[in-house]
Assembly symmetry: C2
Homo-oligomer: 426 residues x 2
């Protein structure tokens, strides 16, 4: 199958190319981009005219809990612990495999409709999430969450993850894995050692909640007799890490982070909504740390729309540092694309549009909304004014999953099923 996209304004996010290129054609064969240029030969099975439209890489969401779509807007007026204890955990206990599958379909639909092509997930009943990803054709990095003590139950969790990896790893190029450890505060040091050992054995990155709020930091200090950053230095050296949140870190701790192999998943919307605070990603960027963007689960993050996350990311740093010159729009686009790919170890395949890379891309139309006109600075217009609804077409691994806002999903059926799940378990 060959697809030719014609006459696009291209924002490839490739260091080897200009930031913005006009009148470019992109040719795709099967899963890959095989040519980028002007007036390419029209020898494709499908030709898409992108005149006046923008083509760029699909976004990469580096922190989420995919099936939590059904918990959207259940949090207003609760603090984190009350929300978990009184609302989420009792409901999660009632979730069936089928629920996880349906709720995941809703999340993947959200992603496709808002231009995200890859997501990094941390949850349980992972087989169902993988099943939904395959149906949705989403690129997924996932795990089965590890947490607890180095006892029989803990060991069994590692065994289950091992079984999952043995069954699925390397079978579908869109499905990759990491080792999801819930957090330092929900595992013992001994168990952390086992998990890191397992990650090294499988040569996989670790995905970890880290320094999300003040209470977590205190809990870790009490449990480990060490600060979170010290635990990282003691137990995770040499290990590739994706750290979600990193809100409660001092400048000095951020400086120490750069000596570890870390990427940060910055989740500004969730961090605000749960009353955690604002991560100092300006300092992280200054230290050369790879900052990427995440939404967190919809329970706290409301939705999986990375357009929103980009805008919050850019604005919050300008606001709290009181410097309007910080984080230009293009830097934020990098966080949502190529930086995310690096975090997941997929930078040779996705995150920018280049010949030989996978065709994970979106087509944006900014021509028909008052809020995106006139276009004085295209990258700023994307970061500050574009919405998920400006994504007309989404292509993942060379497959068109949405075209002119039409998806092949039975959308209303998914909404109704998810509504029934939440009604049942509430």
């Amino acid at each position: 199958m060959k697809i030719l996209i014609k006459n696009a304004t291209l924002i490839s996010m490739s260091e080897k190319r200009e930031k913005i290129e006009n009148d470019k054609d992109i040719k795709i064969e099967d899963s890959k981009i095989i040519e980028i240029g002007k007036n390419l030969k029209e020898d494709a099975d499908k030709i898409m005219d992108a005149t006046g439209k923008i083509v760029m890489p699909g976004f990469i969401n580096t922190h989420s809990h995919v099936p939590m779509s059904i918990f959207r807007e259940t949090v207003d007026g609760y603090n984190l612990q009350d929300w978990l204890n009184k609302k989420i955990w009792p409901m999660e206990d009632k979730l069936t495999n089928q629920d996880i599958y349906e709720a995941s379909l809703l999340s993947f639909l959200e992603m496709i409709e808002t231009g995200t092509t890859t997501i990094n997930d941390m949850y349980f009943m992972t087989e169902e999430i993988i099943k939904a990803a395959k149906v949705s054709k989403i690129r997924l990095q996932t795990s089965k969450t590890l947490m607890g003590q180095n006892d029989e139950a803990g060991k069994q969790r590692i065994q289950e993850l091992e079984k999952l990896l043995n069954t699925y790893e390397g079978k579908d190029e869109r499905i990759t894995f990491n080792i999801g450890i819930h957090g330092l505060y929900t595992s013992s040091r001994d168990y952390i050692k086992q998990c890191v050992h397992f990650a090294k054995e499988r040569n996989l990155p670790i995905h970890l909640h880290f320094c999300e709020n003040t209470k977590e930091v205190e809990d870790i200090k009490n449990a480990y007799n060490a600060t979170p950053i010290q635990v990282l230095e003691q137990e995770f050296t040499g290990q590739k890490l994706i750290l979600a949140h990193c809100v409660k870190l001092t400048k000095e701790e951020i400086e120490r982070l750069k000596n570890l192999k870390v990427s940060i998943s910055h989740c500004p919307v969730s961090n605000l909504k749960l009353g955690c605070g604002i991560a100092n990603i300006f300092e992280m960027v200054k230290q050369g740390i790879n900052v990427t963007l995440g939404t967190d689960g919809q329970g706290s993050g409301s939705n999986l729309d990375l357009f929103e996350t980009m805008k919050y990311t850019a604005l919050l740093q300008k606001g709290i540092q009181e410097d309007a010159t910080l984080l230009p729009a293009y830097e934020v686009l990098k966080m949502a694309t190529i930086n995310g790919a690096k975090a997941l170890g997929l930078e040779s395949k996705i995150g920018s549009l280049e010949v030989g890379k996978k065709a994970d891309l979106i087509v944006l139309d900014l021509q028909n909304n008052a809020v995106t006109n006139p276009i004085n600075d295209l990258c700023s217009d994307i970061v500050y004014n574009a919405k998920g609804s400006n994504v007309m077409t989404t292509i993942i691994n060379g497959e068109v999953v949405m075209e002119n806002r039409k998806v092949c999903y039975p959308k209303q059926e998914i909404y109704e099923k998810c509504k029934k799940i939440i009604e049942r378990i509430q």
Copy 2:
């Protein structure tokens, strides 16, 4: 002309009604709501089915500079003073009457497409803005901006505003006025006295930039030998005020504010983007001060979409106060509707849907987007997940200005004209 909206989920924002009411009909005659109830008699010229949709008051934007639509995204990488000196002011000098008219049309189109029915404006060449508002059928409160010294030029500005008021005040119920004073830092104390005197004479509220950033506060201290709050207390007592921004106020100063007749126009997006900071509106609400929402001009605020402003408002306070229970969604909806009406002195006419009030309302459809499903908390879903594009229909003063996303504007023509203006003056 009679319009009947049937079977809506009604969020009237009226204190006399339930927060959310199902299956309600709303009957409009000419400019007013004449009946709200179930199964109303179908004796209307136009019947609109709102089954599964939400009807609520149109939003009220209490701080903007309407013609600045053309300056959207010209600010990235500049600090405020550089942006004004090097970019905005040289361009503004070249603006013609026709430019102001076209640029205002774009702003009003933006409002209609994103559910805002009333806007409070501060700019110049006000006759053109009024002309565009009449064509767009927008509800506008405006002024001709006063600033400077109590010299001939300053007196002439007041005379011009007086002439404007004499020509337009009371002629069109959608067009009302206030006295726009640019700021304390751009006027002398003597001139401020003249402006306040004039406002009292005309019995109109004053619209004023106030404590937007640190430099402004310092400039005022130097010029007045008094803090901004002291100048307010000395010069504006008894005067109804709409204060835009209020970022740089201490808790103690906020407490003093409540003794004045003030409403706050909170503009969180612009305040972040210009590196000003985050206003402590949580404290203002606690003190019983009327907090309303504004976007500022698009040059700094990016766009006029109050859905975004609502979300930023709710999230920022939760985040900086580190308390997820603050500012429930319904409180934020009040800021965007009835509180705005109170600020503009229009609360007997707009801001909530009640029999006898003007029919300024929007119809929202949250059924067809993944990000708004399932609906677990309707008000939260509106504040955190709805977008301007969920507004299907906008009615102002009983006139349908957008129906099922269709406006009667020549949209592309407006975009093209605005593009040409910015290209010419750059």
